[in-house]
Each structure stands twice: as C-alpha cells, then as structure tokens.
Amino acid sequence: MMHSDALIARAREGDKNAQGKLVQLWYKRIYNFSYKFFFDHDMAMEVSQKTFISMHKNIAHLNELSRFRSWMYTIAVNYCREELRKNKSRRALSLSDLHSGEREESFRWEESGARHENPERQLRQSELSDILQKCLMELSEEQREVVIMKEYEGLKFREIAEALNISENTVKSRMYYGLDGLKKILERNSITKETIGYEL
C-alpha cells in the first residue's frame, strides 16, 4: 500500500507535511491514470493539478479513511470528464491525430530507471506502449476509465464502483465488454502475443 491510514488522517487534520507526502505518493498514479485516459501529457498535468488542489481543499470532509483511494479516483475521473467535455469542441481526437508524447519522452526517460536498460529495447517498448495506448483510446469513455482503473491502477471492482458511483456488476460488465472491444481492436491491428514477443 502506498499510504497508510495514519498519513491520511494527519493530512485530513490539516498537516501540511502529510498532505505534501500524499501528493508525492499519489502524483504519479493520478498523472498516469489521466495520461492513459487522454493520451495527452498537458491534459494529464492539468487534471493532476486540479485533483490535488481539490484533495487539499476537501480532504477534511473525507469520512472513511479506507475510501481514500476510490475518493482520489473519483476526483480524478470527474476532472477527466470535465476536461474531455471542454476539449471536445476544441479538439477532434482521432487515432491518427493522437499525440504520441514524444516531446516529453526524452527528459522523462532521463529521469526514469529505464535508462539503465538496453536503450534499443526501451525504445521498442515505448513505441509498443504508444501503439497499445492508441488502441485503448478507441474504447468508449466509460469502458476506458474502468479498464484503466482495473488494469493499470489495480483497483478492486468494489473500489471502481465506489469511485464511479455505479454498481459492481455494471463495472464488471463494462470491463468485460472493454476487454472484448480491445481484443477486436488488437486483432484488427494484427497485434498478438507473438508479434509483441518478436518485437521485443
């Protein structure tokens, strides 16, 4: 677990250090959730900022410490939806137009532990990641948020249901059809375990 109830409790009581620690612990998760949702660095940064500002303002009203994780994703997903609504009129997202994130790649690579690995392999892994991210973007908004929360953020179905304020069965159903949709998208793009193994 990336946080303890004691840390959250201190943060809830207004401890600045505890709140700062929570930001440090959670920033990467919220950023990656948003990034996978938008496949856009700037929008992910925007959502992350807003999420933590909201956390800072509202953590005092968090009743159950055990619900902190789903609460954080509730805030993040709400900002993601808001941002998506605002940007729908400005940007027409299509698979071909999607930003590959190459601008930010170099410095992030420098900061990551991956720089110690084989650079060529790392590059191929990064390219594959982007291709799969594009496939993920083809899912509907509802399926995408469930798949990201389950598959990449590791939330339990119950936590996802709490975060999205829907029933657990609905979450599972969206997950099922989300995976089924991804299977078809991968087939259409001729992406299989074998091709990935060959590439890597």
Binding site: Y27, H56, R108, E111, Q125, S129, K183, K193
Partner: protein, 280 residues
C-alpha cells in the same frame, strides 16, 4: 452470482478472469467451461488481451511542488464580501430614506398613474364633487360680483370726471374773463402798434416765401424743359425707326406680290390653247 439461461453472465466471467470468485463459484464456472470449450477459449483470448495491454508503460513524472495556502484566515465578519454587499445595500437604502425625508418625497401609484412628488403637498381643488349646476352658479355669482364692482367703479369714475370737467371749465372761464378784461383795458395806440407789427412780420415772411418759391420753381421748370426735350428726341427716334421698319416691310411685300404675279402670268401663258396645240 447470476447465470444466463445458457451460462454465467459477463460479471461472473470477468470475476473468474481476475480470480475474484470464491471456490464454489469458481468450480461452477469451470464446469461450465468444460461443457463449453468455446467460452473458455473466448475467456483465454480476453486473458491474452489483458496480458498484451499490460505492456502499456507508466510514464515517469515528478510531482511538482504544490504551494497550497492552507492557513485558515480568520476574516472579520465586516470584511467579508457578503457583509459588504449587504452593508452597501443598507447604506444605499438609508441614504434614499434620508433624502426622501428631507425632500418630502412621496410616491403614489393609483389608477395606473405613478406620481413622485417633492416638497409640501399641494392642496388640490375637489373638482370631483362639483356638478354642472354648481359651476354655473359659481360663474353667475362671479359675473354678478364683477358687474357690481364694475358699476361701482364706473360711477366713481363718472363722478371724478364731472368734478374735473367742472374745475377745468371754471378755470378756463376765469382765464377768458381775465383776457377780456385785459383787452378791454388796452389803449388805441397799443392796439395799432400791435397790428402794424403783425403786418410787418407777415409781409417779411411772405417776401421770403415768394423768393424761395420763385427760385425753386425756376429750377423745376428748367429740369422739366430738359426732360421734355429729351423725351421728344427719344420719341422722334423711335418714330423714325418705326417708319423705316414699316417702309422696309411694305417694300418686301411689294417684291413678294411682284413675284407671285409673275408666277401667275407664267402659269397662265403656259396653260393657254396655243401652247397646247403646238405640243401636238
């Protein structure tokens, strides 16, 4: 857990895929897969999709420093925005009320008429209670009073005028009597001197008048003669021009008549029987 007529629903299958079923449910699903290997294959494909998708890497990011102003500022109530707004509105109302009090402002709305008045209330005549008869009586009364006042004033004026005329007549009579009395007392010599003086003065005046009159008349006559001669000269020139024009017109007519006569004669000659015979 719910099952479709032909097997478990999507939520059960997805729970199986993520290993979140209890042993009993898991056994049921696996039994279902043994009976339906296609379903098992489908779930295996979903599992493979899950594995492939797990290759999406997390992006490395460093949390930016967040400066959050979390000091709860105790703002006095009178410095809050809402209090200021309310205070502003209240102050405005108070100002309006004081101004209205000082100006004796009155706002009335009745019969679709909004009336805003300042100062003391004017007493309005109660016109609504009067009938046409009352108004007529008031007019008659007023006319009667005016007539009476006029008669009184006229009588007074007449009396004053009579007094003034009487005084004037008395004064004039006295003056005439005085003059006659003086004239009767004047001597014969004085009267003669006075008359001769009058005659001399009249004679001198007449002489001057005649002299002035004679010189003016002369100038006038001279101008008249000059003007008349100019007029005659002009008239003569115009007459001459007119005669000349008429003569030239007569001459022109004569020429035209001559030409016509010649043409007529020529046509008579050309149409005579001899000329016709010779043509045969």
């Amino acid at each position: 857990m719910s099952y479709k007529p032909l097997g478990p629903d999507e939520s059960v299958l997805i729970s199986w895929l993520y290993g979140e079923l209890d042993e009993v449910e898991k056994a049921k699903v696996e039994k279902y897969f043994q009976e339906n290997p296609d379903e098992l294959r489908k779930m295996q494909h979903l599992g493979a999709t899950k594995d492939i998708m797990s290759n999406i890497q997390d992006k490395e990011v460093i949390a930016p420093p967040l400066f959050m102003d979390d000091d709860v500022k105790v703002v006095p109530m009178w410095k809050t925005g809402s209090f200021r707004t309310i205070a502003t509105i209240a102050a405005s109302f108070l100002l309006i009320i004081v101004a209205a009090r000082l100006l004796n402002t009155e706002v009335n709305y009745s019969n679709g008429e909004l009336r805003i008045s300042f100062g003391k209330k004017a007493i309005e005549p109660n016109a609504g209670g009067l009938t046409a008869m009352d108004v007529q009586l008031m007019i008659d009364e007023s006319t009667k009073k005016s007539q009476e006042a006029l008669d009184v004033r006229l009588a007074e004026s007449r009396n004053e005028l009579d007094v003034v005329i009487r005084q004037t007549l008395a004064g004039n009579t006295n003056q005439i009597n005085e003059l006659v009395r003086n004239a009767s007392t004047a001597s014969q010599t004085e009267v003669r001197n006075f008359v001769s003086t009058l005659q001399r003065e009249n004679l001198a005046q007449m002489r001057d008048y005649m002299q002035l009159s004679a010189s003016d008349q002369r100038k006038y006559t001279d101008n008249l003669i000059v003007e008349f001669s100019k007029f005659l000269q002009e008239q003569r020139t115009q007459d001459l021009n007119m005669y000349q024009t008429r003569f030239s017109r007569i001459e022109q007519n004569t020429d035209e008549l001559k030409n016509e006569t010649e043409q007529i004669l020529a046509s008579i000659i050309s149409n005579s029987p001899q000329v016709q015979q010779s043509s045969y």
